[in-house]
């Protein structure tokens, strides 16, 4: 089966001016540095990583909102990164985004209803009366009462706003939805509701998700496959079950260990990460994770590990983990 979305060796570097305004040099920040993934139709790829690791840049790249420096994103056979503006706009009917901050993503001067029906207007679909009806129907579909349509965004609660953003993204009936931290701005009590709503809508519309979060619990709940990102690269990727049962990369292990648990046995054996990640402006030679890695050896300090596929299809970028597993397999 061909994947609906495929990213091939995506790279996006930002030029950052260092030091003084006049005399400083220019450095390159590698926000996304060689990322590849495939998402099958109707499946969910979860993307985890700490803040600043390039998740949001990757989301924008996947939708073609930012042009990559290298690599491409193929959506249903079309390279979205190099489309002319008009075709890119038309393609928005099939790929949409849900934002982290729902209040910021909504125009505070328009009613909720006007904003939900706006995509139909933009793409010239349906007559005004029908647009209104469809928007109202979809508001109900995401669990908002019809009368809330006349409200302004600031008059709604955080959870309601995120539902509006969802309804707006779904009214075009897209195939592919990128959720960039869709619940991190919400109350814990609302998070579960919105996550369940997302899953319900995925079932109903057959959506394909790229689900980005720093919250491993949530990603585990929604994803079929999970990719762990560290400083612009995917360091481990595999099915949800495999990744949680037997994480290979020390970073993934630390992330999983950091999920709060009541199990005393697990708590004792967990490795906790110390320190901050190195600045993406100043990546160390060799493995990006070496400074915080409990397993780092001499090899890690000189050669950057590639993402290798293990015997069971699991992928990991770590000399130690890959070597150990390969020996075991042999």
């Amino acid at each position: 089966m061909t994947p609906l979305v495929e990213a091939r060796d995506l790279r996006r570097h930002f030029r950052i001016r260092m030091g003084g305004a006049l005399l400083g040099g220019v450095k390159s920040l590698k926000a996304v540095d060689g990322v590849s993934f495939r998402i099958e139709r109707g499946r969910t790829l979860g993307l985890v990583g700490e803040s600043g690791c390039g998740k949001s840049t990757l989301a924008r790249l996947a939708l073609g909102m930012t042009a990559p420096d290298a690599g491409q994103v193929v959506f249903d056979g079309v390279d979205v990164t190099r489309l002319p503006t008009g075709e890119w706009r038309r393609l928005r009917r099939r790929m949409q985004m849900v934002f982290q901050d729902p209040l910021g993503a909504l125009d505070r001067r328009l009613t909720v209803l006007a904003q939900v029906e706006e995509p139909l207007r933009i793409h010239g679909l349906a007559a005004p009366a029908e647009r209104r009806e469809r928007a109202l129907g979809l508001l109900e579909g995401v669990g908002l009462q019809r009368h809330l349509g006349d409200r302004y965004p600031h008059e709604l609660s955080g959870g309601q706003r995120q539902r509006v953003v969802l309804a707006r993204a779904l009214i075009l009936e897209p195939d592919f939805l990128v959720c960039d931290e869709p619940i991190s701005a919400l109350d814990v009590s609302i998070q579960a509701q919105v996550v369940n709503l997302l899953l319900e809508l995925q079932q109903k519309f057959g959506l394909t998700f790229l689900f980005i979060s720093h919250d491993l619990k949530v990603v585990r709940h929604v994803s079929d496959e999970i990719a762990v990102m560290y400083l612009g690269r995917i360091v481990e990727q595999g099915s949800r079950e495999r990744l949680f049962a037997r994480p290979e990369h020390p970073y993934t292990r630390a992330l999983i260990a950091a999920v709060p648990t009541l199990d005393r046995e697990r708590r004792r054996g967990r490795t906790l990460l110390a320190g901050d990640p190195p600045s993406p402006l100043d990546l160390p030679k060799g493995c990006r994770f070496q400074a915080r890695c409990p397993l780092a050896g001499p090899l890690c300090r000189h050669i950057e590990p590639e993402l290798v596929t293990l015997a069971d299809g699991h992928r990991v970028a770590c000399h130690v983990a890959a070597g150990a597993t390969l020996e075991r397999a042999a």
């Binding site: 706009r89 038309r90 928005r92 901050d101 910021g104 909504l106 125009d107 706006e118 933009i122 075009l172």
Partner: protein, 296 residues
């Protein structure tokens, strides 16, 4: 114990309640400003019918006649000027002329500036640099001097004069619009709408413009009185509206010579200038608050 339904206290009648509500929604000064502006607009539109005389009609036997409340005759309610022209009739026509020049000038300036600001923010790069340079040029030259030079060089013509007024003040709109559009483009809602597949007209016209409109309206209300003052200033100097046409500044300018003997020639148009610009500022300020749904 307090008896809640005290017999002596009667709730105020409904009309008083309604009046109170109007008073809260429309503060007295704003109300005054609105009434004044409406009156000015009414005068500007109907001045051909409500003027007692034609504005250039000369009554040589009643030169420099005082207003009626200073013992003048009822034929000239606000007195006459040095040629015996009725001050009230001239005032009406001056209001029309000044309002028209300021209104068209402001409209041209605001539209031009907004458009240029959007262009600069949309294309960035070379267009942006060019626009910013132009803005700096315009801002660094006193407009009065430019206007004097242009009018002296090309001769005076009402259309040219109005176009010149339109160029006054565009740079402020352009600068505001450019800056706010740039910051709004990074904002969630503009990014969100762009990724819905909207074209620049939808993004700028339907989303960014309404969101920055309150700032523009404030600028407009500051700018409109400035236009009136610029027009009156130029006319006062004799470079604006030329006789026999009349405008508020023109009246003040020519009335200046008789300030000691017949003050009414200059004071009434001066009063009209002050009250109109003041009303505009009051109403504009109030309007900005009303237009923002988050402040309602």
């Amino acid at each position: 114990m307090v008896d809640l339904a005290q017999p002596g206290v009667v709730s105020p009648p409904r009309w008083m309640e309604r009046l109170g509500r109007i008073g809260r929604n429309y503060p007295p000064l704003v109300l005054f400003g609105m009434v004044w502006l409406a009156a000015m607009l009414f005068i500007a539109i109907t001045c051909d019918w409500i003027s007692p005389y034609a504005y250039a009609q000369i009554d040589l036997r009643a030169r420099l006649a005082p207003p009626v409340f200073l013992g003048g005759s009822e034929r000239h309610l606000l007195g006459t000027d040095e040629l015996g022209r009725d001050v009230l009739a001239r005032l009406f026509h001056s209001i029309r002329m000044s309002l028209m020049v300021a209104l068209i000038g402001t409209a041209i300036g605001a539209t031009l500036g907004t458009l240029i600001g959007f262009l600069a923010a949309h294309f960035r790069g070379l267009v942006d640099d060019l626009v910013m340079t132009l803005i700096d040029f315009q801002a660094s030259m006193p407009f009065m001097i430019i206007a004097l030079a242009v009018l002296a060089f090309f001769g005076n013509d009402l259309v040219l004069f109005i176009c010149l007024m339109g160029i006054f003040g565009w740079e402020r709109y352009a600068r505001i619009v450019r800056g706010m559009t740039l910051s709004a483009s990074q904002h969630g809602y503009a990014v969100a709408v762009r990724q819905l597949g909207a074209g620049p007209f939808t993004i700028y016209g339907r989303h960014i413009l309404p969101n920055i409109a309150s700032t523009l309206i404030v600028n407009l209300t500051l700018n409109f009185p400035e236009h009136i003052l610029l027009e009156t200033g130029l006319s006062f100097l004799g470079l604006g509206v030329q006789p026999p046409l009349t405008s508020l500044g023109n009246m003040v300018g020519y009335g200046r010579d008789y300030l000691q003997s017949a003050w009414w020639i200059a004071v009434f148009p001066g009063l009209a200038i002050v009250l109109t610009t003041l009303s505009m500022s009051l109403v504009g300020d109030w309007l900005r608050d009303r237009l923002d749904p988050t402040l309602r």
